[in-house]
């Protein structure tokens, strides 16, 4: 046993260097004032009006995009489950394909489509329709979030539904259940681990993103991610940035614990 533990050494080193030390330093900065003394002000700053507003908007946008991802992903996962083996591989390939492109590039592509002189407005113009302000809106940010994070919702749900024994579905029909009832009483409950996992993988990055809101929100819409980023880059206030990050971490841990309540498998699928 002791000998085998040695093989974990690279991972332990990685965790210490990449997670434990940065976490400690963020905690240190978060509870330290500019003058070097202990303070709770950086953490309490989350309750400032503009920060609360940004957090509220972040939660709202993350919630909406997670919901849209779920609504798109679940039927897609079921289609994948039902399709033949060869076709299945191709469909999964298509779903993963966008992830081969750089994340920034993908988001930038939406800029080209949505901007004032962009592709969509160009097409609208062709039909004599008025220009739409698509860029720099919450809608554009949600679009970007859904586009970027959708595969992270589909794959875990597909992974779960593909393992549901088809005899269970047949048994449900056999016992007289309609298609709808079979979905709500058998398929959906058995998909919960995948759904929980998918929600976690979409909601958390959507809640903390600053890249998507920067590129599609044009700096006019501030999410909590943007505020933290600006504290580090523009304002060079590592103390405040770290303080706000700590609060966000607590937030994420709380939401994960909440999700776990729905997952009877004990959260083994959570990241």
């Amino acid at each position: 046993m002791i000998a085998k533990k040695r093989y974990a050494a690279p991972f332990i080193f990685w965790i210490i260097a990449g997670t434990v030390i940065p976490l400690i330093s963020i905690a240190y900065y978060g509870f330290t004032s500019r003058s070097g003394g202990f303070t709770l002000a950086n953490v309490a700053a989350m309750f400032r009006h503009d920060h609360m507003q940004a957090l509220g908007l972040s939660l709202l946008l993350a919630f909406i995009s997670t919901l849209i991802c779920l609504i798109i992903a679940f039927p897609m996962a079921m289609v994948l489950r039902e399709s033949k083996y060869g076709k299945q591989g191709f469909l999964i390939f298509v779903i993963i394909l966008p992830m081969w492109m750089n994340f920034l590039l993908r988001t930038m592509a939406w800029q080209v489509l949505l901007e004032r002189q962009g592709v969509i407005n160009g097409l609208l113009g062709l039909f004599g329709l008025p220009h739409q302000e698509l860029m720099n809106t919450p809608g554009a940010i949600i679009l970007g979030m859904v586009y970027d994070f959708l595969p992270f919702m589909i794959l875990p749900i597909y992974n779960t539904v593909s393992k549901i024994d088809s005899h269970l579905i047949e048994a449900s029909y056999d016992l007289g259940a309609t298609k709808f009832r079979t979905y709500t009483k058998v398929i959906l409950p058995l998909s919960v681990p995948g759904i929980v996992s998918g929600i976690t993988m979409v909601f958390i990055p959507a809640l903390t993103t600053f890249v998507i809101s920067n590129m599609l929100g044009g700096g006019k819409i501030n999410l909590i991610g943007n505020i933290i980023e600006q504290e580090f880059t523009v304002n060079s206030n590592w103390y405040l940035g770290s303080g706000l990050s700590l609060v966000m971490m607590v937030f994420i841990i709380l939401s994960m614990l909440l999700l776990r309540k729905f997952d009877k498998t004990g959260g083994e699928n959570l990241i």
């Binding site: 005899h167 269970l168 047949e170 048994a171 449900s172 029909y173 016992l175 007289g176 259940a177 309609t178």
Partner: protein, 361 residues
């Protein structure tokens, strides 16, 4: 008792493989019918067609005189006990049993009574709130039965329900199933590849192979009068030999003539080439030279109740399989005798249905 289920000319293929090649089957009300055959013979597909999970390419399915070929599974008055039980893992025992009744919006008090009744029937009193993964294989089997019968189906379809259980439990459950069948008074359509199971429990056995029905009949008929070499071989050990009718009620096997009870009346006139089945327990041992034919014992196995011996004929052409309660030594020369009524004469395979099967043996 009337006819409850009738299959007419059922044909089904999956991709390029023809699984069922024209099945006609009739199941009487309150019968225990077993579809018996090796894996891949089409018995499960037949059951799934009746359950409504597979649509036949050709042919019709009738239930109580009504054509139900196009009726979806959730409206059919049949219930299935699946091979792997297919109990819902996210529900406890009670919720599993209640499923079909909740679908039908039965009152909760009725559901509660019915769960109690069903659990009592399968000898699992008080198991309502157990989780499925807390149950043993045999218990899951019983719950699957309970779940299927509370729906009060007129036919219960059972897809190798005992296949995953160990031998002792399987034998116990055979008695249980027969008892349940009697108490419920409904029709059982049972699938198995275990000939012993089929003979023990059924009123009627339907032997299938390669997508065809080979023979239908009572267990005794199937065992004593197999219609072809496949059925004879599949239902228990037997000596299957090639013979020629040389006279009325006289068949020649390997230059020795055996009196039998079949002749022109049964469709075997003289000079017909036939297959002959002689069950190993029907060969009687006599002193050397005192029987119909002689041989030398070349191997002996003790298998519980009796001895199983291989006996080589004197010209070395045939190895006879014998079962006998008396012990004889390897190397001993013996005489053997078979009563005429124990010699079963069968047609040589003619149709595609039968010759396809020949290759399998």
């Amino acid at each position: 008792m009337g006819e409850l289920i009738r299959l007419e000319g059922i044909v089904k293929s999956f991709d390029d493989t023809v699984v069922l090649k024209g099945i006609d089957l009739s199941v009487e009300e309150n019968e225990f019918v077993t579809l018996l055959g090796p894996s891949g013979c089409g018995k499960t597909t037949t059951l799934r067609i009746i359950g409504g999970f597979v649509r036949p390419d050709e042919g019709r399915v009738f239930f109580d005189g009504k054509d139900i070929t196009d009726m979806p599974a959730n409206q059919r008055p049949v219930n299935t006990v699946f091979q792997n039980y297919a109990l819902f893992p996210h529900m406890n025992v009670g919720e599993n049993i209640a499923f079909s009744m909740r679908v039908k919006n039965k009152p909760e008090a009725y559901i509660k009574d019915k769960i109690k009744y069903a659990l009592k029937l399968v000898n699992l009193d008080g198991f309502e709130s157990r989780r499925i993964d807390q149950l043993s294989g045999g218990q899951q089997q019983r719950i699957a039965m309970a779940r299927a019968i509370v729906n009060e189906p007129r036919v219960l379809l059972l897809d190798e329900p005992l296949g995953a259980l160990d031998l002792k439990l399987r034998q116990e459950m055979q008695y249980e199933l027969v008892r349940l069948k009697k108490e419920l008074g409904i029709t059982f359509l049972y699938i198995t590849h275990d000939q012993e199971e089929a003979l023990t429990m059924s009123d009627k056995v339907v032997v299938m192979n390669e997508g065809y029905i080979q023979q239908e009949g009572s267990p005794e008929e199937i065992y004593d009068e197999p219609v072809n070499a496949f059925v004879a071989d599949f239902i228990g050990d037997s000596n299957i030999l090639s013979g020629l009718m040389v006279d009325e009620k006289l068949v020649r096997i390997n230059d020795i003539d055996y009196p039998c009870i079949d002749g022109s009346e049964q469709g075997f006139p003289p000079r017909t080439p036939v297959d002959v089945v002689i069950r190993p327990e029907d060969i009687e041992i006599k002193p050397y030279g005192k029987g119909l034919f002689n041989g030398t014992i070349i191997s002996k196995l003790f298998i519980g109740v009796h001895y199983e011996m291989l006996v080589q004929s004197e010209d070395g052409e045939i190895e006879w399989l014998l079962q006998n309660y008396d012990q004889h030594d390897v190397g001993e020369k013996i005489g053997m005798y078979v009563r005429p009524e124990n010699i079963q004469i069968m047609q040589k395979p003619k149709s595609e249905a039968e010759s396809a099967i020949e290759l399998d043996i």
